[in-house]
């Protein structure tokens, strides 16, 4: 196991390098640049601006300088769009917000999703099953960009219970709607995966044996069925968690949370190379880390898996 983890960590560096180089090249090959606007800059001004940001250098030396700054100084450079700020500042400000609402949404999605899935599987083909399946399908087909405006309409305009957007670290009322909007579709997927996997496990031989031994159902579910049933759920949770904590453009857009999701999309549209690279690297690292974590949890849950 230890060797496995070491090996996985060792390939992080080449993986990240490939990610950086490919992203860098893709980004620069997109038409237009950070300073393309409807007012085309006179050549002398464009030259000054490009010199300031090092864009006048050949691409290869730009990549080298960039990697050097990131590795040795942990400096992701200045934003090309938000000119008063550096990428480090933008991530430092936005990522904690995204991390908070993402983690809470994740917990909600897992707790509700797994409970719903398990309940549906145990009471297979009962009204509870139909209800759970109905809820999860409904939640899945209702995209969050539709749900977000509806939430604000209901809770802000009609009921006046919650603020329509913004972010305060010490005021939970700002987080409720983002969490509902973000967790719903994940919750639905988790419920469906849990349900089908639970149904499969409940028909397995070891469960039949347990029932034959006369164990109480509650004990069978918690101790014998849940663990194997969660394996497919866990493989889904790794990437799901990363996508939740690295921000949702829809949540940031509709609830003005100030998270990094909107920055990421705007960076792509604005050709803000440095912000785009910074967030890409962050997402890349988190994805690698959580995939590793999922593999470790796998081995822990399923003794059949050996590394």
């Amino acid at each position: 196991m230890f060797n496995f983890v070491l090996k996985r960590l060792a390939i992080v560096i080449p993986t990240m390098l490939v990610l950086i180089v490919i992203s860098f090249i893709l980004m620069h090959s997109a038409p237009g640049g950070p300073f393309t606007s409807e007012r085309e800059l006179p050549p002398e001004i464009l030259a000054n601006v490009e010199a300031k940001y090092g864009l006048d250098q050949p691409l290869i030396s730009q990549i080298v300088v960039y990697v050097k700054n990131v590795v040795f100084h942990f400096d992701f450079g200045p934003s090309f769009t938000y000119k008063d700020r550096s990428v480090n500042e933008i991530i430092a400000q936005g990522f904690p917000i995204t991390l908070i609402y993402g983690s809470i949404s994740f917990l909600v999605a897992v707790l509700v999703g797994v409970s719903l899935g398990v309940a549906a599987a145990i009471r297979h083909n009962s009204w509870l099953d139909y209800l759970a399946v109905g809820i999860s399908i409904g939640a899945q087909v209702l995209p969050n960009f539709v749900m977000a405006p509806i939430l604000v309409l209901v809770f802000t305009l009609w009921l006046g219970w919650l603020p329509g957007g913004g972010w305060e670290y010490n005021n939970p009322s700002y987080i409720i709607m983002p969490v509902i909007a973000l967790s719903t579709s994940f919750m639905a997927s988790i419920a469906r995966i849990t349900r089908s996997s639970m149904l499969e496990v409940l028909n397995a031989n070891h469960i039949r044996t347990a029932r034959a031994k006369g164990l109480p159902t509650r004990h069978i579910i918690l101790h014998h069925a849940l663990k194997p049933a969660l394996l497919p759920v866990i493989s889904y949770l790794g990437p799901a968690f990363v996508s939740m904590i690295t921000g949702s453009v829809v949540i940031d857009m509709y609830f003005s949370t100030g998270g990094i999701g909107l920055f990421f999309v705007n960076a792509a549209l604005n050709r803000d190379y440095s912000v785009m690279m910074g967030i890409t690297i962050l997402i890349g690292l988190l994805t690698i880390f959580f995939n590793l974590l999922v593999d470790i949890i796998y081995a822990w849950i399923d003794p059949k898996i050996r590394y």
């Binding site: 300073f35 002398e44 998270g259 920055f263």
Partner: protein, 537 residues
């Protein structure tokens, strides 16, 4: 002889009323307890540095944090700002501004040297401002040479005669030069503060300005808060205590939050104005905004052969039913456009081109005739591509126009939608046939539009090249009344049709019924928070 423009200002100052009684507005209206003005921002602010800022919303905040030489009043008329007034030399090339006694928000006096520093900073190749061209546009002596790095900063035509006198020398007489000092990129900055904090100088707490407000809170992607600056020279007359800009990307979401009472001002999404006007007649507004929406025709070598024929260009322009676009698609009181300059531009006398006075069926008939003359018809159908950038309204207009062209003229239009940066790059490289575009005036004068079509303009992507037009525009710079030249230029555009005018903008917004003094008559949308107030009811 120098003619003095200080007199009217001096008069109005002496007639000004004493400080307003607490709790009532200048009109005697009772004031609300809470003087906070909250409005929606589309996107995060890109910079709080006046010489770095490039966008309209940023400028709006700059006008609160800083103050330029001259300001605009609610109708867009020029009024004194950091300067009490100015004199112009006989050759009209030297402007001398007298500065008032004012302080920076840290207590330092505002001096002419602060302006010298800021104006040099704008063209400094080391700062590399994207708006350096603005100083070239103002024609300040040696601006271009400094930008190119061919002359030192000190050669820029600005100097401080003494602490309170700032002098600018320009290359050519420019009748509207003083009104250009209203622009945020020529606002003063405090050299000592920039020196001390370096690139962090614009952070709340560090930023020092000479405006009516100071930056107290900034949370990116979320909000910008400014609070009253007690050291501002006219603080006694300022009523709003706090201005809050909330970043709300989605305009429908912003509207919901406005209706929930979270905002005092927000934009009305396209097509919703009639409904809101009916439901909230005292809150839904549509007023002119200095922007003009056009479809460029690519007349360059890279463009299609057909568009080199003026008859084809005219036919296409005539066949656009602009009434449908303004009244059915946009529905926000926009103006049908048959020329380029926004018709509400100060001092601009719109001389409508002939085709503007015809009925649409007359225009259509003429269009069919012209296209036939040009050799296109059922046997030889004309096929063109219409490029636009991703946006609901652009899409609706493009679909509408392509239908007019198909039905009236039998022209086959392929719609090509790309995201903004790609669209802009294609236009600038000439890789398009017909391209959507909009130009917003930099200052309230017709040349901000008409200069675009000169052969030497970097924005003239149609490739319209007409020596006579260039001369008209060059001559207009030194004329006492340049209007005849502007009219002639517009006529020339209608005759050559390098683009099809589509519509001229209005600003369509919801304004809180308690909000007073919002400058609905200011074409440039130059809003100064200090002029507003919130009434008690």
């Amino acid at each position: 002889m120098k003619f003095n423009q200080l007199l009217p200002f001096a008069l109005s100052a002496s007639l000004a009323m004493p400080v307003i009684a607490a709790g009532t507005s200048p009109d005697g209206e009772p004031l609300a307890e809470d003087q906070t003005f909250t409005y929606r921002l589309l996107d995060d602010i890109k910079s709080f540095d006046p010489q770095i800022n490039t966008d309209v919303e940023g400028s709006r905040i700059m006008r609160d944090l800083f103050e330029g030489l001259m300001n605009e009043d609610a109708t867009g008329e020029l009024i004194p700002g950091a300067a009490t007034g100015y004199t112009v030399s006989d050759d009209k090339l030297t402007y001398t501004f007298s500065l008032r006694d004012a302080k920076w928000s840290n207590g330092d006096p505002v001096t002419a040297n602060d302006f010298v520093f800021a104006w040099r900073r704008l063209v400094d190749p080391a700062l590399a401002s994207e708006y350096a061209w603005y100083m070239e546009l103002m024609g300040v002596k040696n601006a271009s040479a400094v930008v190119k790095g061919d002359a030192p900063l000190e050669d820029l035509g600005v100097r401080a005669i003494d602490d309170k006198t700032f002098e600018v020398t320009i290359d050519n007489a420019l009748p509207y030069f003083a009104s250009m000092t209203v622009h945020a990129s020529v606002f003063p900055v405090n050299a000592a503060v920039i020196e001390k904090h370096g690139k962090d100088w614009t952070k709340p707490g560090n930023l020092v300005g000479n405006g009516a407000y100071v930056l107290t809170e900034y949370r990116s992607g979320e909000k910008v808060v400014r609070e009253r600056n007690p050291l501002y020279w006219n603080n006694d007359k300022t009523i709003i205590d706090e201005a809050v800009a909330l970043v709300i990307n989605d305009e429908n979401q912003a509207l919901t939050r406005y209706l929930a009472g979270e905002l005092d001002k927000t934009a009305i999404p396209a097509g919703q104005y009639p409904r809101l006007k009916e439901e909230y007649p005292d809150q839904a507004y549509s007023f002119p905004q200095s922007c003009s929406y056009i479809y460029w025709f690519n007349m360059t070598d890279k463009g299609p052969e057909a568009l080199k024929d003026v008859r084809v260009r005219k036919a296409l322009s005539y066949a656009i039913n602009r009434e449908v676009i303004t009244d059915r698609i946009l529905q926000g009181g926009q103006y049908q456009s048959y020329n380029f300059t926004h018709q509400k531009t100060a001092g601009f006398e719109l001389n409508e081109p002939d085709y503007a006075t015809w009925s649409q069926s007359e225009r259509d008939a003429k269009a069919v005739e012209l296209l036939k003359e040009a050799g296109y018809g059922p046997e030889n159908p004309l096929k063109l591509t219409l490029n636009y950038n991703t946006d609901e309204a652009h899409k609706k207009i493009a679909i509408g126009v392509s239908q007019f062209w198909k039905k009236t003229l039998g022209v086959e239009i392929e719609l090509a939608n790309t995201e903004w940066k790609i669209h802009t790059t294609n236009l600038q490289n000439g890789d398009y046939e017909i391209g959507r575009y909009a130009w917003c005036g930099d200052y309230n004068e017709a040349s901000t539009y008409l200069d675009l079509l000169t052969s030497y303009s970097g924005h003239n992507v149609a490739g319209f090249n007409n020596a006579e037009y260039d001369k008209l525009m060059a001559d207009s710079k030194t004329m006492e009344d340049p209007n005849p030249n502007y009219t002639a230029a517009e006529t020339m555009l209608a005759e050559n049709m390098p683009f099809a005018p589509v519509y001229q903008y209005t600003k369509v917004v919801m304004l809180s019924p308690q909000l007073r003094n919002y400058p609905v008559d200011n074409l440039m949308q130059n809003v100064y928070t200090r002029d507003l107030y919130i009434s008690a009811k």
